[in-house]
């Protein structure tokens, strides 16, 4: 590297220094400290005491940790594919030339911009076992609705159902992807006699597969980290901790029980879980994704 190159590198680094400094101060440093605190007994007020892997060992024997992990996996397993399928279907329907299309698009997108705390408060009333509109609607067709918030078997389905409502974000991405599909493909499929179902499976799905892939990865990351709605709807985890999600348990440990070291260790584990799930999804799906440019 010549003197000139070095000087240019220095100037380049200087130019990006605000971002680099910001990233180190607000990104890298907190992450590194979280990893460090995960190896200590730390309650925010006292000096951290080094305990090695004790927090991680405690996690193995902590029933509530496993319960929270199980709840989160059940939640993500159902809510991610459901949201994905529903948002793709809605996007396909809204991509057709129908009357009032832009109004429908707006309506379906609005839930995505409503503050999550407000959404949580509204859902808890909708799911009320005695006065809720959902049970009222069920009673009109002769079904006695369950105690969504009181019965431990129904709290997770309640969270999953309420998450499916907010598909606006992924729907918009699907819409953008759908508009890139060349019309000529559908026209030639029409000529070859392919019906709407065949066209959907053999043209639409492969052509929007990059968006599908992106939404899947983001869905997994978001689903496993889900916090705000369960925290607002059931701050203590619901009956028998049946709706205690992983991120809520981290919050409880960090800010209610002052077990910051333990909470950091759980955050590190959550990070590893997301890493593994994303890697798995990547391995299983990426070879099936079609990029027009390839």
């Amino acid at each position: 590297m010549t003197r000139h190159d070095r000087r240019r590198l220095g100037i380049g680094l200087l130019f990006i220094s605000p971002w680099v400094i910001g990233f180190i101060a607000f990104g890298l440093y907190p992450i590194a400290m979280a990893v460090y605190y995960s190896l200590t007994d730390y309650d925010v007020l006292r000096e951290p005491v080094w305990v090695g892997t004790l927090n991680y060992q405690d996690m193995v024997t902590d029933d509530v940790f496993w319960k929270a992990l199980w709840n989160t996996m059940v939640y993500a397993t159902f809510s991610v594919p459901l949201s994905l399928i529903l948002s793709l279907l809605v996007a396909v329907l809204l991509n057709r030339s129908i009357v009032g299309r832009s109004i429908f698009r707006t309506c379906f997108y609005i839930p995505a911009i409503v503050p999550l705390v407000a959404v949580g408060m509204i859902w808890i009333w909708l799911f009320n076992g005695d006065l809720g509109l959902i049970n009222h609607a069920l009673s009109l067709i002769g079904i006695e609705g369950p105690q969504w918030t009181g019965d431990q078997h129904w709290t997770k389905p309640m969270l999953i159902l309420s998450s499916v409502w907010q598909i606006g974000g992924s729907m918009v991405l699907f819409l953008a992807g759908l508009q890139d599909v060349p019309r000529s493909l559908y026209e030639s499929a029409d000529l070859d006699g392919a019906g709407p179902t065949h066209q959907f499976w053999h043209i639409t799905v492969p052509m929007v597969s990059p968006v599908l892939y992106f939404n899947l990865i983001m869905g997994i990351i978001g689903g496993v980290q889900e916090f705000v709605k369960p925290f607002v709807m059931m701050p203590d985890g619901g009956p028998n901790r049946s709706a205690l999600l992983f991120a809520v348990y981290i919050y409880q440990n960090a800010f209610t029980f002052n077990n910051m070291g333990y909470a950091c260790a759980m955050a590190v584990v959550l990070f590893l879980i997301i890493l593994v799930l994303t890697w798995l999804a990547n391995r299983m799906v990426s070879s099936r994704v079609y990029y027009a440019g390839d």
Partner: protein, 497 residues
């Protein structure tokens, strides 16, 4: 017409100077570089630039006071602060209303920038003091001549931990049975005779419970005792009104053991959540869903509105008896002024042995560690704890005074007609405080989960409490190990303060 391309260099602008572009230290680059650097400098300074002055224009020291109260409770403390400020030429107290005060105070103290005075709850004292977040008050109390004799004994006890005093009470509370006299009358009970034992309470609750059952395809509404044995066993009815629910409001379900003479901790190293008396209390707690049905109670509970609303089930006449605190009068007065009610000590399981049981708690004033004006802060706390100021605060907040003596007119002036009951309970030998444990919040949460499992018939009292005990013993052992490692250093620090 074609749109003009978006570019900064218009055709008429002079060609950029090739030499200047090549020379990276030209003025344009310097200007560009200066901007982010300037931003960084401003950001850096921003952190220290928003400090408020710690003196008023007339030279008085400003004492920052964080308090959680809002509404009429906030106005009550403000009027006491105003009196204090008017009496002072040296100190000025500035109140800031803070929500989620525990978390914010913890972070502010850890960050080295706490307020001078903070209003916490009694259950924070063990946690905060043990972790070195509070200033011990012993030396200042001795200098001011304030001692245990000045206070209701249980309230002084909750301010102590590890042999030192960490706080002074502000407004205390005890809880008692509140009953709806009109509902008693309607059910054929004497409206002026509350239950005197738990067995009597259960029997009265049964007579007061009003249900809807389907008979021959038609809904029929009647009192619970009028149901046939088969209907009672099948539990296929809907609760419209209940005499009593041990899960309403559910704020003390971790402490029902108090009415059975149980303790949650042996004052040393053992968590005693599954002691026989606690198991018995939990069995009584679960007996209500045993009798009236889990799903029936769940559905009934779902129909309640917010606590602070006219849809509160006690205020709208759907629950005849509740365990509630001294503050309940405020809500009756606001949302159901015509309610005919009374308050009496909540009956114990064995009234001959255990009388006047209550859970006593209080809001407290503390000086966080690292406060900039601890002496001035103490001056203010001391003022609030003078009889005159304390009675003003407690009258306006409609609570009772934590001081051992109150002025002769206090009860007569008090708007709550039952205030005497709460004062007598506070002075009772069976006024129970929360266990002074630094893991109490977690312990309380665990006991609540255990209680819910029993109430929902997911576990027996023995199973649920043994699980809670094991889990909390594990946490407590860890906490004690930690304390053993740091206590010598902590005691040294406290001695120096």
């Amino acid at each position: 017409m074609r749109a003009k391309p978006l570019t900064l260099l218009t055709r008429n602008a002079p060609e950029p100077d090739a030499h200047r572009l090549m020379n990276p230290f030209g003025p344009a680059h310097v200007r560009l570089l200066c901007l982010p650097l300037l931003a960084c400098v401003l950001l850096w300074c921003g952190g220290c630039g928003d400090r408020q002055p710690d003196r008023t224009p007339d030279g008085r020291v400003i004492v920052d006071y964080w308090e959680k109260w809002t509404g009429f409770e906030g106005e009550a403390i403000q009027s006491v602060i105003d009196d204090f400020n008017a009496s002072q030429d040296r100190i000025f107290v500035r109140r800031l209303t803070v929500s989620q005060i525990e978390q914010k105070l913890m972070l502010a103290t850890a960050g080295g920038n706490p307020p001078d005075v903070a209003g916490l709850w009694d259950y924070n004292i063990a946690t905060f003091s043990e972790r070195g977040a509070l200033t011990p008050l012993d030396r200042r109390l001795a200098e001011a001549g304030i001692s245990a004799e000045d206070y209701i004994p249980a309230l002084w006890d909750v301010c102590e931990h590890r042999g030192r005093v960490w706080a002074l009470p502000s407004t205390p509370a005890t809880n008692a049975l509140h009953w709806n006299k009109a509902m008693f009358r309607e059910a054929g009970l004497d409206p002026d005779q509350p239950p005197r034992s738990l067995a009597e309470l259960d029997a009265m609750a049964e007579k007061l419970t009003f249900v809807e059952v389907v008979r021959d395809g038609r809904p029929v509404q009647l009192y619970y005792p009028e149901l046939t044995d088969a209907e009672k066993a099948a539990k296929h009815f809907r609760l419209l009104r209940v005499g009593f629910s041990p899960d309403e409001p559910g704020w003390w379900k971790h402490q029902w053991g108090a009415w059975f003479g149980a303790e949650l901790w042996d004052q040393d190293a053992e968590i005693t959540a599954d002691s026989p008396a606690n198991i018995e209390a939990m069995r009584w707690f679960g007996s209500y869903t045993e009798k009236y049905g889990v799903a029936n109670f769940q559905r009934f509970g779902e129909s309640f509105g917010e606590f602070s609303s006219p849809q509160n089930p006690f205020l709208d006449g759907r629950v005849a008896m509740v365990l509630q605190g001294v503050w309940m009068y405020n809500f009756i007065d606001k949302y159901a002024p015509t309610l005919e009610w009374g308050a009496a000590p909540f009956p114990a399981q064995n009234p001959g042995v255990l009388e006047d049981v209550t859970i006593i708690s209080c809001d407290v004033l503390v000086i966080p560690k690292g406060a900039k004006h601890p002496d001035e802060a103490f001056e203010f706390i001391r003022y609030v704890n003078s009889r005159e100021a304390m009675e003003k605060l407690c009258l306006r907040q409609r609570k009772f005074s934590p001081l051992a003596e109150h002025s002769p007119s206090f009860i007569a002036d008090h708007p709550n007609p039952a205030i005497g009951v709460f004062i007598d309970l506070a002075k009772s030998a069976n006024a129970k405080t929360i266990p002074q444990l630094s893991i109490w919040l977690e312990y309380r949460g665990e006991l609540d989960v255990a209680a819910d499992r029993v109430f929902d018939k997911l576990a027996t009292p023995e199973e649920a409490l043994a699980y809670a005990r094991n889990r909390m013993q594990w946490k407590f052992d860890r906490e004690r190990r930690r304390w053993d490692m740091t206590s010598a250093k902590r005691q040294e620090e406290w001695d120096a303060q």
